[in-house]
């Protein structure tokens, strides 16, 4: 019964997700839908690191870029299909995240966040200014174009709708994985590190190992998303994938929806991406600054009045209602999202 209940939101996501293309007829809306879903996916990937484990990385876009470039180079020069390329890209990004994480985890709090931004900026500079990297032509500011084959085998799908289904499938995978992690030993260790790493260590948690694990998982998923993202354009350049925009957006959507919860990142992106797009369209080129201003204001308000994100605020509201009737149950309800009771 309990497990059944848990899968209801997932079922809703899949069913609604599958029906979206029948409602959205135009290419523009389909592209928007792809954005919404891929941001849900990235925000969920970041959630494993920033939400569950509490490692506030602000430059995780670097793994989108690494995923994108590795996939592009493998396809352009080695003819390796992005279907395989994206997995290799994920592994490369994961490895990079561990290599970087090792020294960076000596830094705490703000310094860790700053280091993650610095890393991304370095990658952006290198990929934007160097025409060749390790002897491989990556095009610098011109970027790198995928040869058009039009074959599904090369992840070159016939319509936006097909790409949409692809990113939807990725989203479902990352959510299922997150749910699995959250309820496993690893997830408990992530959350204990987030809460208090010294106390966690004294209870037998190898803090460095689990921080690196979180880093690897998050980087892997982020990079796979980056691979698919650029394949939809058949083009990659440094500004597009290493920019601050992507990195900050995934963090913001996750926090707005509710970090450290399974559905927070999904809700955050579902609300904010359309608002962002609508504001951009409504304000036009002349008033581009205005859309950013309204967007920023909305962010401030949510942060002020809903510090635990939208999902957190809703949970609190439900808990309050229940307290009025059955006080002791409130705590259990508040924690319902984290796996429920275990009265064996």
């Amino acid at each position: 019964m309990k497990t059944l209940k848990k899968f209801i939101p997932m079922a809703i996501l899949i069913v609604v997700g599958l029906f979206v293309p029948t409602v959205l007829k135009s290419q523009f809306y389909m592209q928007s839908a792809i954005y919404v879903v891929i941001y849900m996916y990235w925000a969920s990937s970041w959630n494993i690191l920033g939400g569950y484990t509490g490692l506030f990385a602000l430059g995780n876009g670097v793994y989108i870029g690494v995923g994108a470039y590795v996939t592009a180079v493998l396809f352009v020069y080695c003819g390796i299909t992005p279907w395989i390329g994206m997995i290799i890209a994920g592994l490369v990004a994961g490895l990079l995240s561990v290599l970087i994480g090792y020294p960076v985890f000596k830094l705490k709090g703000m310094y860790y966040s700053l280091a993650s931004i610095a890393l991304m900026s370095v990658f952006e500079l290198i990929f934007n200014n160097e025409m060749e990297i390790f002897g491989v032509y990556t095009g610098g500011p011109n970027g790198l174009r995928f040869p058009v084959t039009g074959r599904a085998l090369d992840m070159q799908l016939s319509s936006k709708t097909s790409y949409y289904y692809l990113v939807l499938a990725l989203l479902v995978i990352v959510l299922l994985f997150s749910d699995y992690i959250q309820n496993s030993k690893t997830g408990f260790y992530f959350r204990s590190i987030r809460a208090n790493q010294d106390a966690a260590a004294s209870l037998g948690v190898n803090v460095l190992k689990y921080k690196l694990t979180a880093h690897f998982i998050s980087a892997f998923f982020t990079a796979v998303g980056g691979a698919v993202y650029v394949t939809t354009f058949l083009y990659v350049n440094a500004k597009q994938v290493f920019g601050m925009d992507l990195s900050f957006s995934m963090v913001l959507f996750c926090i707005l929806g509710g970090a450290n919860t399974l559905w927070g990142p999904v809700i955050g992106a579902l609300l904010m991406v359309p608002i962002q797009q609508a504001l951009r369209v409504a304000a036009g080129v002349e008033l581009a600054a205005l859309s950013s201003l309204i967007y920023g204001l909305a962010l401030c308000l949510v942060m002020l009045f809903m510090p635990d994100g939208l999902l957190g605020a809703i949970k609190k509201l439900i808990a309050k209602r229940k307290t009025a009737t059955v006080a002791p149950l409130a705590a259990a309800v508040t924690d319902a999202g984290q796996g429920g009771a275990e009265d064996e």
Partner: protein, 242 residues
């Protein structure tokens, strides 16, 4: 007697810059005993705990657990070897339920979630906190927090348990309940315990032996009655009766 030693602290010194927090301290801990560690604020009691539990290495000296040198070992490894600890200032995982807090400890011995949950329930039952298992760590009162600290440490199935002021801050009734609880747990689990405490009634009552620290130096060691009568202890810690 000597083969009965489970933990030995040998000439341990800890310097923080110019400050000598612990100065050439040695003592032995026998199997299934309760050793009281007392001394005024800043005597180096918690520093000693931190070194045994692996929070930081001693500047000099050895710490030997079951014949193995463990000084400088990482705290999670020390935990796996069988030394559990609580913190003087409770360190709950506030956003997690009490059961989940304790499960973090249990996961050091059990891989599966269901087994860890079972262990957590068992330990919570033991320390009398089961009725709060679904409350959040941040919602507990001080006595409940102290129980949770003990429960988390017990869930790691230690052989040696380091209790850092688990009684301080409780009211007299709770103190008695806690003294009984500690003794009960020790007997049932065949635990060896070092306890830091300021509540004299509790420490005299609980301890098989007592070690007294003053400004980082061990000034006395012995049975509770002996230590309480030691003029040096009376002067430096219990308060000189002029």
């Amino acid at each position: 007697m000597s083969d009965n030693v489970i933990l030995e602290v040998q000439n341990v010194t800890k310097r923080f810059g110019g400050l000598v927090a612990v100065n050439d301290v040695s003592f032995k801990l026998h199997n299934v005993e309760i050793l009281g560690l007392i001394g005024s604020n800043g005597a180096g009691k918690t520093t000693l705990f931190n070194m045994i539990a692996g929070a930081y290495p001693p500047t000099e000296g050895k710490i030997i657990f079951k014949g193995r040198e463990i000084q400088g070992m990482r705290s999670d490894n020390v935990c796996h070897l069988g030394i559990g600890r609580t913190y003087q200032i409770c360190q709950p995982f506030g956003a997690m339920t009490v059961r989940h807090n304790v499960m973090v400890g249990a996961f050091s011995r059990y891989k599966k979630r269901s087994e860890a949950a079972e262990k957590a329930n068992e330990v919570l039952e033991k320390v009398g906190l089961y009725y709060r298992a679904d409350a959040l760590g941040s919602e507990l009162t001080l006595p409940e927090l102290k129980r949770m600290e003990v429960a988390r440490a017990l869930a790691t199935e230690p052989e040696v348990l380091l209790l850092d002021e688990v009684i301080a801050g409780l009211n007299p009734t709770e103190v008695d309940i806690f003294v009984d609880l500690i003794r009960e747990v020790k007997e049932r689990e065949k635990l060896t315990i070092i306890i830091i405490e300021h509540v004299m009634r509790a420490i005299m009552n609980l301890s098989d032996r007592i070690v007294v620290l003053n400004q980082g130096i061990k000034i006395s060691e012995g049975l509770p009655a002996e230590v309480a009568a030691d003029p040096l202890v009376i002067e430096s810690y219990l308060g000189g009766g002029q």
